[in-house]
Symmetry: C2
Subunit: 251 residues, 2 copies
Amino acid sequence: MSGNIELIAIRGLGEVYPDNDLAAMIGEAALNAGLQLLDGDIVVVAQKVVSKAEGRLVWLDEIEPGDQAREIALRQQRDPRLIEVILRESASLIRSDNHVLITETHHGFICANAGVDRSNVIGDEWVSLLPVDPDGSAERLRADLRRVTGANIAVIVTDTFGRAWREGLTNVAIGIAGMVPLIDFRGSKDDYGKDLSATVLAIADEVAAAAGLLMKKTARIPAVIIRGCNFDSGVGSARLMIRPRERDLFR
Amino acid sequence: MSGNIELIAIRGLGEVYPDNDLAAMIGEAALNAGLQLLDGDIVVVAQKVVSKAEGRLVWLDEIEPGDQAREIALRQQRDPRLIEVILRESASLIRSDNHVLITETHHGFICANAGVDRSNVIGDEWVSLLPVDPDGSAERLRADLRRVTGANIAVIVTDTFGRAWREGLTNVAIGIAGMVPLIDFRGSKDDYGKDLSATVLAIADEVAAAAGLLMKKTARIPAVIIRGCNFDSGVGSARLMIRPRERDLFR
């Protein structure tokens, strides 16, 4: 019988710069707040601080937009340099109209603007990119946080993505370490002994969404502890959460 | 400065039958567990128990499948009576292949099988449907829980929906009362003074997903209290979360 779950904000991280030791900063901020990481915690970290620590920032003044970027920028009345960066971060274009540019990133994620973002980055001319290997980012944070705190935890790197059909963004898991992201109930029985035929729960995305309730966009909470959530601590990867192209009816 | 958030399972509800007083059952189960609802709590209730209490159950033996249902059932090797019920619950067919049937419900939700579900319903011949008016269900539960417990709360009715592009189901809000479901940051500034141009957070779906971490599919936890989550307690509706057809690039 599982207990309740606590969502605990880690505040006071301070500004993150390239090559900062993010795990040390998170560990210190937790310590300063009187928080101790425990075995079985999930630490959810915002993509933005991970990208900053990894130097995944681009100075738009250095970008020379190509023809496709200029064409989209003209149609969408946006900065052609920004569009160029988005296209470089994209493996394919999924949909675009006069407002929205939805692409598949090189990781396989489908989201607006390939995750390229101007907000919460210093200066108008800088934008942040998604980490090159968010699973790797999560795994390094997990190992480093274990070294710093001694706790055996899972780590999720999260970003806010839009959805088809529904308004608003939600936090999803783009990098995962120490946690199996999907719970597969197929073959198990419901409470009446019937097969649960088509039930795979995206637990890592639900964890990320829960953390999103504390992170919000302006709250300066780049990391959240999820305590008390049962999960399978096997090998995880956010790539397991990407529906294979051949089974995706919405590309 | 917001504090932490607690997710608290309400257990021991017992089987729900048509015309049961669900709010009284939830209030009693909470009381038996030593839980007191507080002003500002969000109570997330699983669609399945709401549908059962509202008698939204269909006996498949009474269903005569039409031609379209028979054709889809043959292609998907499924029960034609079940397909007939799904089609009756649908306003339009969005996508189907040899395995999946994704439709728009009469409410406007886009999900697999129009929310019609065989699991966790007694007997192989019964299926459950989504509530006719999930916002109304949430509003009645909210008023009734206030009467029973004295607490001024918000209520979300949740179901697990699939997503485009990503594997696995997550809990989303299909009925909302006492809570504005979207937080619109447009026009506000990020932590660096820049406009947050395209940021609308689907807080109600993040609350539902958080509750999903405790509900799971077989855990007999049909209601979860979310405590400590800041939200706008204005008039809400899950319909606000449906992207209007003319702005939806993925139908």
